[in-house]
Amino acid sequence: MNFLVEEVSGINVVRIAIPRATADVSKEFKSVLFDLIDNKNVQKVIVDFGKVDFADSSFLGTLVSGLKKCSANKGDIKILSLQPPVRAMFELTRLYKVFEIFDNEQDAIKSF
């Protein structure tokens, strides 16, 4: 399993369990994320990047697709635990302006 979904204090946390979040796993990520939003009507999602040390444009594109879908359902996706190389990607693509980013899971949960 590359992605683990856990419910914490009523919020769905998608934990990325691999170090490289890339095109290889984008489809699987999309399916996990869209299943939560479309089939389980989840509105509050946290994506935990704590174990990820590399993310590519395909994966981040999928993340934004998920946010668009979630926003359309009046929900939100928040980002947790960006490691420096992944944070650099969020800065380079200015996704840090699109997503709320947290270092601490409790802060992310409280922010909803």
Binding site: D24, S58, K68
Partner: protein, 178 residues
Amino acid sequence: MKFIHLVGDALESYLRLKLLPGKVLSEDETLKSCRLMMYELYSNAVRHSPGSKVDIIIYFKLNYLAIDIETNGEEFIVRPKDKPGLEIRFPYPDSVLGTNFIVYRDKDEVVNCHVLSDSCLEFSKQKTGGGVTEELEIPDHFGLLLLTSLTNDVKYFRTKSGKNIFSVRKHFPKEAVN
């Protein structure tokens, strides 16, 4: 795709040979951004133009690093964000030669596609000063945003024989190149 990071490793090894130590500002950051550039170039070429062959040509000319990725798959089709519904395909018609189209945009920046000839497109990033769009865009040409952010020159060529060539140039200080 599983071993795609090896192309970045190969580029990093080459750069360590070609760049003189201490002559490039933030050497680690430079190497990281070159690895990312290589990764994005290669992965986008492979994903978007699935073909049977990929050739990677890497060389230095004067003070710039040149990387050309050649594939024999499907052509890159321009779908401008500023002209919804329009598709620009090879060979690019006279009516669009010299024209700019937006292929990616967010609140701060756009990626322009300039039609240089009937077989060549040039991509460049431009700051818009904010406020162009509130809409989230990404899926089509997010890779192009990264490539235009990390390099000095991005071009795409389509040949009559069916080759796609994505070609990027990254400049270095002249005194840094061995």
